[in-house]
């Protein structure tokens, strides 16, 4: 049996904290980082449950600023 | 040796022929009296089949000038033509072209105004042309033809100046010159530029970005005041250079004259006859004809006015170019104005009588 494991890299400085990625993620991987802002003053998101990520790309696709880079690897159990 | 063919045609028709022959890439325009023959002639000549020149009747003058903006922004030689009320509609686009530094050409075959006005000739758009009818600090290069030959010759000249300085250029004609028929020698055929030639002449143009350069962006917008002031200063420096180098004017019988008539376009043609009539009466008069209305030949007028007794500015409006003449001579000699309004074209004798009553017999 194999499954997909994903990983996302978020461009924190480019993120504006719009949260569209959080509602698009089917695994609740992403959330607003608590009490943090980037140098532009925007709150930003981070992967709080990275092991749940399957690399489905939803977050990357819906991000209006192209902040998220998505990686995916097939893993044998 | 190529023999030069002499043809008989209207000023409007000469513009159309000259546009094709000077390698224009496109014409976009809208019908309006008294210049619709320009687009009609182009449509009949079908240059898209010979030189590949685009000819498109646009939905309005607003669309026309924005098409010129679009084409010029991509490095192409494009022009539009209209008459006074249509040129009023184009002022937004002209200001944008000046701000974005685009080499478009437009022609105004003037008619009486203001508003919808009349279809008869006038010179009432001098202010609109030279004072920048659109918003902001800018100038367009203004050429004033006084013959069908100059209508033909000034198309290539307008393009040359427009591209040399990356600035809009206009030919300010009127219903007399547009509609009258005269002998003309049309300019020789010049091929349209290739893509390579355009790239070289216009490295700034938005025509598709090869990887070897940064994107070219044609815009007149700048939100930072500091940067915008610098851009404006550069524009002003450009205009100063044009003023220093591109003045054109003509003088007839001015050397021994006591009085000078200053006139442009069709008024100058009429005034030529007035000079003759006045000299027959023993009054020594000369004619000074500005060919570029902007840059205005101020220095030349000042030089000329030394030792003269007075200047009569004869123009078919309520007094527009006379302001520039008065500014130039700065009170050193009397400057009077004569004009007819509302589409009436004066007789040579009217100009003669005006000079006598306002200057000689004063």
């Amino acid at each position: 049996m194999s499954k997909m494991r994903g990983a996302i890299v978020i461009n924190v400085e480019r993120c504006k904290g719009c949260m569209l990625c959080t509602v698009s993620c089917p695994r609740n991987v992403i959330a607003l980082a608590e009490r943090k802002v980037n140098t532009h003053g925007y709150p930003y998101v981070e992967a709080i449950r990275p092991d749940e990520c399957t690399g489905c790309m939803n977050c990357g696709i819906v991000c209006p600023d192209g902040c998220i880079t998505v990686y995916r690897k097939k893993v044998e159990d | 040796m190529e023999s030069q063919e002499v043809k008989l045609m209207k000023g409007n028709e000469a513009i159309a022929h000259a546009a094709i022959r000077c390698g224009a890439d496109a014409f976009f325009g809208y019908p309006i009296t008294p210049q619709s023959e320009i687009i009609e002639t182009l449509a009949a000549l079908k240059p898209w089949e010979t030189t590949g020149m685009v000819v498109l009747q646009a939905e309005s003058e607003v669309a026309s000038i924005n098409m010129v903006y679009g084409g010029a922004g991509s490095g192409k030689r494009v022009l539009t033509t209209s008459s006074s009320p249509g040129i009023a509609l184009m002022q937004e686009g002209i200001s944008y072209m000046a701000g974005a530094e685009l080499p478009g050409v437009f022609v105004n075959v003037q008619r009486g105004g203001p508003g919808l006005g009349t279809i008869q000739p006038s010179q009432g758009d001098y202010f609109q042309a030279t004072r920048g009818g659109g918003n902001g600090d800018y100038q367009v290069i203004v050429l004033a033809p006084a013959s069908v030959q100059e209508m033909a010759d000034f198309v290539d000249l307008a393009f040359t100046l427009a591209f040399r300085y990356r600035n809009p250029a206009m030919i300010l004609s009127d219903g007399v010159i547009g509609q009258m028929m005269e002998k003309v020698v049309l300019p020789p055929m010049k091929p349209r530029r290739t893509e390579e030639e355009i790239s070289k002449e216009c490295p700034w143009a938005a025509m598709g970005r090869p990887k070897s350069r940064k994107p070219n962006i044609i815009t007149s917008l700048e939100l930072s005041s500091e940067v915008m002031e610098k851009r404006n200063i550069l524009l002003q420096e450009k205009y100063a250079e044009i003023e220093a180098k591109e003045v054109r004017c003509e003088m007839h019988q001015c050397e021994d004259a006591d009085y000078v008539i200053v006139a442009f376009g069709s008024a100058a043609r009429i005034a030529e006859k007035s000079v003759e009539l006045l000299r027959e009466e023993g009054i020594k008069v000369g004619l000074f004809r500005p060919i570029t209305l902007w840059p205005f030949p101020s220095k030349e007028i000042v030089e000329l006015s030394k030792g003269k007794k007075g200047i009569l500015v004869a123009e078919i409006n309520a007094g527009q170019m006379v302001q520039d003449v008065r500014l130039a001579v700065n009170g050193t000699l009397p400057v009077e104005h004569f004009g007819r309004l509302g589409g009436i074209v004066p007789d040579p004798s009217e100009i003669m009588e005006a000079l006598k009553s306002k200057l000689v017999n004063k």
Partner: protein, 257 residues
């Protein structure tokens, strides 16, 4: 298996297109503009047309589109983009030429230029961002503002007695003989983004094949103007705009899959 084992170039499945540069975009958080810009960048790259594209940007929030996508651009006066695009394409027929406009630009001040360029069948694609409000100037009423919707110039809600009705310009476009492809999409979900990308791609392909003019409307959000969060804006849009501005292909004579 650690995150670092997965994050490797051979495992890359999604990233910002290269044609979209690293300049921070000035759009509000969650604004649809960013998404559509991204799709356009991807499409131009996939078509291999990065060196032969000229975009025409509007007056509106997207006036600065030219800062974010590394192609040649011409900034047009308000509403005039279709005229500007007409000239560029007629002068350079082998280029991909598109205009990108908001609802005020395309359906208000530029109505004549929009209708006539489409009706002439110019070989251009017009991308229409409809968020039922004037974003850049601070949230005034647009021709596409809904009945009852509150904006700064109809603070008590749009009233047809005073303000007339919302304008369905895309329906008008579908009836023009010159158009070959007219579609209305959105970019609020992954599925809708995929459909929107297909529609924009088809419009671009149709223009390159000289089949006529194309209009792709993207029903969009303006969370600042609407005074809702980006997530809530998408919900409001789904609940209120999709029944006035119905999604789908209104016209397709292109035969492009």
């Amino acid at each position: 298996m650690t995150q670092n084992d997965i994050i490797a170039p051979e495992n890359l499945v999604y990233s910002k297109p290269e044609l979209m540069n690293d300049t921070t975009m000035h759009y509000c958080p969650g604004c649809s503009h960013g998404e559509v810009h991204k799709l356009i960048a991807e499409i131009i790259e996939e078509m291999g047309m990065a060196e032969k594209t000229v975009g025409v940007s509007p007056v509106g929030c997207a006036v600065f589109a030219y800062r974010y996508l590394d192609i040649d651009w011409e900034e047009a006066a308000h509403g005039r983009a279709p005229a500007v695009a007409t000239a560029i394409k007629r002068c350079w027929p082998d280029r991909l030429v598109f205009s990108y406009q908001g609802d005020g630009d395309l359906a208000c001040i530029g109505t004549a230029e929009t209708i006539h360029a489409l009706n002439r069948g110019e070989h251009i694609a017009i991308i229409f961002i409809n968020n039922a409000i004037y974003g850049m100037t601070g949230g005034q009423m647009a021709p596409t503002t809904l009945i009852g919707q509150k904006t700064s110039t109809c603070p008590y809600g749009r009233d047809p007695e005073i303000h007339g009705y919302p304008l369905n310009i895309t329906e008008i476009a579908a009836h023009l003989q010159g158009t070959c492809y007219v579609s209305r999409q959105s970019v609020d979900t992954v599925a809708s983004i995929m459909k929107a990308k297909k529609a924009i791609r088809k419009a671009f392909e149709a223009s390159m094949q000289g089949l006529g003019s194309s209009l792709v409307e993207i029903v969009s959000t303006c969370n600042s103007g609407w005074k809702l969060s980006p997530v809530k804006s998408n919900e409001w849009m789904r609940e209120n705009m999709f029944n006035v501005y119905e999604k789908g292909d209104l016209k397709d004579t292109t035969n492009i899959k």
